[in-house]
């Protein structure tokens, strides 16, 4: 029931919004709808907390009509992502500024995106999963290309093709898996999980899945779409991308790579973990000298999600649980980060770090909020990222000490680039662009409130997430 609501509500809202008249009304409607969704997903979360081993099911055998089996299952892992989605989407919707005159289609596309994202996280049938996975691309493509900045058109095409190419690899893997299931073949996750794959079967499977996810996440060296797309898309699009959509790839790792390619993950990690690790360092190092705030966020994100991938593939429970927790945290943090970016760009019309400065002296509230978000990104203890990164590195350490130590370098690098960026933007003397910087209004602060609550809630009491996962991660 909850699943049905979670899927149908945004879909209908989206269809309704496509016929909307004014942007403001549509925004209000979309915001309300997404809040309702959030409430519903919280109910789902509550049910699961009561019994973490259980899962919410939705099964309707419509294969004869739809061609796919409507098989949904929300377990503890899924609910985290569903809640992440439903938590962030209202913020993203609310963040649009009145001055930007978004048409109703904009909100319709966001709601459609939400449908697809929830679908991805709730699907328990491979084809269904794939459908939602691809469906998610369409709205974000339009959002990016239509409301994006310069070159948005070209870049969004590159983005779309790049990711579609990646997901085609996944399609190959799915189809390959399908042939391996005992007759009558089936696409349901459960039938895949029951497979006992031999090592030689796992290798191509792993490669295909890994490629697909690596492009989506993105991992080095498949990240080149990311920076450009973040840079080109409107900030809401970037938030959707970085906050939620990238998690699809990581979610895929949790759902498929780890349970299905156990042996490859166990034996081959030393081949691909260094690659990911290099990407982690790479992103962080580039962020140090990145002159544009948005690109900096992109590279920081590249580095952060790389760490998550490291944790997930580290063959240890700590790594996996920490990775999942960190996915949630990263979603929250990066959206917060983008919001800060948005606040700056909205007021100063520039995101060049060197043109900014001295904001802290005119906007103390903003400085505080931004500082909290920066610290969350730096993974300071008691913020949400710390627990996740700690567990990830712990997991990685128990797998391979050298890798963990190198990965640990990021906690230094992240401090370097984050503080450098914060210092240059917020501190120092005021500049022309920041002369008339207005501090956050009440409405804008309200945008940050849920994010800050999430940052501290997860940082101080992560156990509710971790214990939720306990029954599922094995």
């Amino acid at each position: 029931m909850i699943i049905a609501l979670l899927l149908i509500l945004p879909l209908f809202a989206s269809i309704f919004l496509f016929t909307g008249k004014t942007g403001q009304q549509s925004k209000n409607f979309a915001f309300l709808a997404s809040l309702v969704l959030f409430a519903i997903s919280l109910i789902g979360g509550y049910e699961l907390i009561a019994a973490p081993e259980k899962a919410l099911f939705f099964n309707m055998d419509l294969e004869s009509i739809l061609g796919v089996n409507l098989l949904f299952k929300i377990d503890a892992i899924s609910i985290i992502f569903v809640i992440l989605t439903t938590l962030l989407v209202p913020i993203i919707i609310a963040s649009t500024d009145k001055k930007e005159h978004r048409t109703p289609h904009f909100y319709a596309l966001i709601m459609l995106m939400q449908t697809a994202l929830i679908g991805v996280f709730a699907a328990s049938d491979m084809i269904l999963f794939y459908i939602f996975w691809e469906l998610a691309l369409i709205p974000i493509f339009f959002i990016t290309a239509r409301w994006g900045g310069e070159n948005a058109r070209k870049i969004s095409i590159k983005f779309l093709i790049y990711t579609v190419v990646g997901s085609f690899f996944m399609l190959i893997a799915i189809l390959y898996l399908y042939t391996l299931t005992p007759a009558p073949h089936s696409f349901s996750f459960d039938s895949f999980y029951q497979l006992k794959l031999s090592y030689s079967e796992q290798i191509p499977l792993f490669l295909a899945f890994f490629l697909a996810f690596a492009i989506k996440i993105p991992l080095f060296p498949f990240h080149s779409w990311q920076v450009e797309t973040y840079n080109a898309s409107p900030v809401q699009g970037s938030m959707l991308l970085a906050g939620i959509m990238l998690k699809m790839g990581l979610y895929g790792i949790v759902r498929f790579l780890i349970p299905l390619c156990t042996d490859v993950v166990a034996n081959g990690s030393l081949i691909f973990l260094p690659l990911i690790l290099f990407g982690v360092i790479y992103g962080a190092v580039i962020a140090i000298s990145q002159p544009h705030l948005k690109k900096l966020i992109a590279f920081a994100s590249l580095s952060h999600v790389g760490i998550i991938a490291l944790g997930l593939l580290s063959n240890s429970r700590y790594g996996i649980e920490g990775g999942i927790l960190q996915m949630f945290s990263h979603g929250v943090n990066v959206v917060g980060f983008f919001l800060c970016y948005y606040m700056i760009v909205k007021r100063t019309k520039t995101d060049k770090i060197s043109e900014l400065g001295g904001i802290a002296s005119v906007a103390p509230r903003f400085a505080t909020v931004f500082m909290i978000i920066v610290l969350a990104n730096v993974a300071l203890p008691l913020t949400n990222s710390f627990v996740g990164e700690f567990l990830i590195l712990l997991g990685l350490f128990s797998y391979n000490k050298i890798l963990a130590i190198i990965a640990g370098l990021t906690i230094i690098l992240v401090a370097v680039y984050m503080l450098k960026m914060y210092q240059q933007i917020m501190f120092g003397e005021k500049k022309a662009s920041t002369e008339n910087f207005i501090d956050l209004t009440f409405g804008e602060i309200m945008l940050f409130v849920p994010i800050i609550i999430a940052i501290f809630a997860v940082g101080i009491y992560p156990s509710f997430v971790l214990q939720l996962l306990q029954g599922v991660v094995k």
Partner: protein, 459 residues
Amino acid sequence: MYAIITISIVAIIVLFFGAFGKKKVILPIIFVGLPLAFIINLMGWNQSIHYFNEMYIDDNFAIAFNGVLIFITMLIFVFARVYYKSVKRPLEDIYALILFSLVGGLMMTAFGNLVMLFLGIETLSLSLYLLAGSKKSDPHSNEAAMKYFLTGSFASGFLLFGIALLYGACGSFNLEVIKQYVVQNQANIPAMFTIGLLLMAVGLAFKVGAAPFHFWIPDVYEGSPTLITTYMATVGKVAAFAAFFRLINASFSEVDFLWKTSLIVFAVATILIGNFAALYQDSVKRMLAYSGVAHAGYMLIAIIALKGNAAGVLLLYSVSYSIATITAFAVLMMVRKETGSFSIKSFNGLAKHNPTVAFAMTIAMLSLAGIPPMIGFSAKYQLFVSAIEQGQLPLVIIAIIGSMVSVYYYLRPVVAMYFTRSMVSEPFEAAKLYKKQILGMVILLLILSFIPGLIILLI
């Protein structure tokens, strides 16, 4: 069977009224006659009647494909009204030729004898040659018709030679008898049989537009009047595929080692050439032509898979491909009417003033590209599944690579429509004419997207 008769009669009535210059009644007659034929066609459902010594077999396969063909033709006529709006004369000849070729198509789906196959192919082809050249004043149309005719009759020669050799080996044209021969002589198939089979396959591969026999397609599709191109790309292709499938399925399924490799080569070449060549096209019409080639490659996979529900999958694919193609061509016709060009540039900024049209084009492109949740995706994935169940994973991988490539060119019109500055500042005049029809197509596409399973299980 009775559908053929109905359609023939309708065609003759059309000719009759046209001869007396009664322009206004022609299309209404067709719009009565084709649904009638559709219903009559459906009445034979689940009965599998064999007519005239198994010349014509009205099994579910035939009925389903005939239904699709008739339905597509109806859609074509829907757009014909708008396409030929400016033409004064009754056009009974063109309409009649379309109907005649439809008869040929129906024969191709339901043949039980190679004679019927041959006659069906020729009826369809001859009408299409003529239709391709029906815009006499246009050198492109002439050229298209000529090229089509030259290559087509050449291919017919091979087809016939193949039939002759096959006959020499088996001594019959009846599919059932050939099958028996095959079953009995599975161990020592004479070379003549093989050659005959392969030459027939070549002939049919030409008709479906599979590489390396696809060369006529881009030129002919581009040169023909757009409405006719639409018809060729849909009815012509679907009928040819139905015929191909029926031929292979009815007689040669036991000796798949003879033809499978060749077909796989065809399919691979078709997918790659079609998709890659489409990348560079500036003319949307030609791009769609290459897309047609590429889709022929995918549909060949259904024939290669053959077993299981391949027929249903082929049906689904045909439906998805045809409806999306018609939608795309319909939009193209409109754009061409307004801008006088097929170039991708003429799509620039279409979405601003013609959102419905742009949306329709987008849906069609996404469907053709096989992006979920459009029907094009369901069709592709069902196709891949059935191929993979027959152990054709490498082929499927190639097909998927082709799909990756295709995303690019299918997106170009979308991008042009939505994200490029428009040259015109007001809604297209023609859009008013088209709006209802195009909206209908969109709704059809969307509805179909939710019932792919139903279509597959038809057969």
